[in-house]
Symmetry: C2
Subunit: 295 residues, 2 copies
Amino acid sequence: MTDEETGTLKWGVERRLEFIEFRLFWEGGVNRADIIGLFGVSVPQASKDLTLYQERAPGNAVYDKRAKRYVAGDGFAPVFLKPDPAAYLSRLRSLSEGLTEPGESWISDPPAVDIAVTPRRRVESDTLRAVLDAIRDSRSIEVHYQSMSRDRAAPTWRRMTPHALGYDGFRWHARAFCHVEGRFKDFLLPRILGERAPGDPGATGADDRQWNETFDVVIGPHPDLTISQKEVVAKDFGMRDGKAVLRVRYAMLFYVLKRLGLLEDATKLSPRSQHIVDLNRPTTLAALERADFKL
Amino acid sequence: MTDEETGTLKWGVERRLEFIEFRLFWEGGVNRADIIGLFGVSVPQASKDLTLYQERAPGNAVYDKRAKRYVAGDGFAPVFLKPDPAAYLSRLRSLSEGLTEPGESWISDPPAVDIAVTPRRRVESDTLRAVLDAIRDSRSIEVHYQSMSRDRAAPTWRRMTPHALGYDGFRWHARAFCHVEGRFKDFLLPRILGERAPGDPGATGADDRQWNETFDVVIGPHPDLTISQKEVVAKDFGMRDGKAVLRVRYAMLFYVLKRLGLLEDATKLSPRSQHIVDLNRPTTLAALERADFKL
DNA sequence: TATGTCCATATACTTTGTATACCCATCAGC
DNA sequence: GCTGATGGGTATACAAAGTATATGGACATA
């Protein structure tokens, strides 16, 4: 049986058809020139691709003679990708932050975008590789770590056994067993200044209770909002009966609360900027205590 | 001149070599089976690719007979990609959040990851498309918008002319001229429940002063930190002489301040969770006022 | 009307990739 | 120490995908 009969396409061809569909859906149209520019194929090949796309997805692409390009047809139904707004916006963010090459992202003329970024120390390639290696092989490494302890200014070498990565919304950290203190801790990747000496592990991820056990944060709309405002906030956060439950690892609890603005007593903050409150604050504070974060 | 002489590679081949390099660098090794699995090529072709990679990047790949796969050589020097830890972590995040297909991301066995996410109402495909179209074509649309005004509970149809997108760290919004109020505003994409009736624009992006003009936020370490802690924070944020300047659009000022924890008086917050303060708070408050955010 | 642009298609040719077969080295298990 | 399983390399004949080049058509603009 040939490829043509089975409908199977070569990887490269499928990527191009996917690209055509992406452009039709999100960018309002596609050109032979677009295909040529991105994939470096010849003019006739780009024509063939467009023809093939029309065979595989009838009605999706119609030629707009005025604009001299294909635009999405009325009853557009994606065949090669499941269009996900979150995925598109994620691409747009990567592109805007310079993490993706313009060609790679498939977005031709991105809209004007601004992102509330905050400048942060960067992570070194070697650091990330060393941590990933240690996690993969279940081994320990020594890291030259710049901690935030009250008086120790200079970075020190400490052995640790990482088993996971965490992201708090700003920075990445390694979740690791600290051989010096004999307990699990977070090591911020940007504060690791060097790494050396892979060795035997001190503990496994299964031993990390704070990582493996979760706590339920219960949130609700800020009490000072009007009834209609509360309804909007409830929809924003997918609340039912005025509340929503977030299941969070103890090891991530501090970060989630900080991100949600719930570390302090949110009822005392202006509802204009703080839309939600913690409906179970005493329990949460106890959980934070258990998670080793003393405020 | 042939391709072989110029060193030019077909798009598909180059992707595969890039993939080989990616795996060598970040994932500790690569296999024929990996290439076959991801790109659907035949066994001999995968062999050829590995051979070709070794020709193009001598010494980067060495065969580990024990592990039966290629691993990165000692003097590994990337040829097909510039390894960027931020890009890798961004991929990892997309993968963990389910925004990327496992195959597409090139990360074979991702480490355990947790991300401090917060549940949010989703954006509709049609909404995003309509807004992107309007931005691209400089047109207006009517949106069925659920606003947060104090008493208006029901969503209303309002005409607006979007010219940019903004991301506050949590949600995306359209920066747009509001035809009802006759001024530029932010429309949260998840609160747009419907869209219709493209029409003439009400104003252009160039008219949006709050978007086009910027304000400098000056930050410094929290005064209650010890000297050594301040040094760490200074390095974290790239401060010089105890301060750093962030240039921010007025239209984004509120979001940036919220993200940095600087909406309230940060000196009154615990330095344990709030590491930085606004060194110019009165000016910032005036700027917020100018940005139309009345706290 | 002339010109430029963009799409489509045809032909002859090159490159890339497949299917199949066979060989080699290493390792785990008997 | 043999044996089979696994993973890599390579050769040959063939299929497919893609290129270069040329030609023609539709449409917008000057």
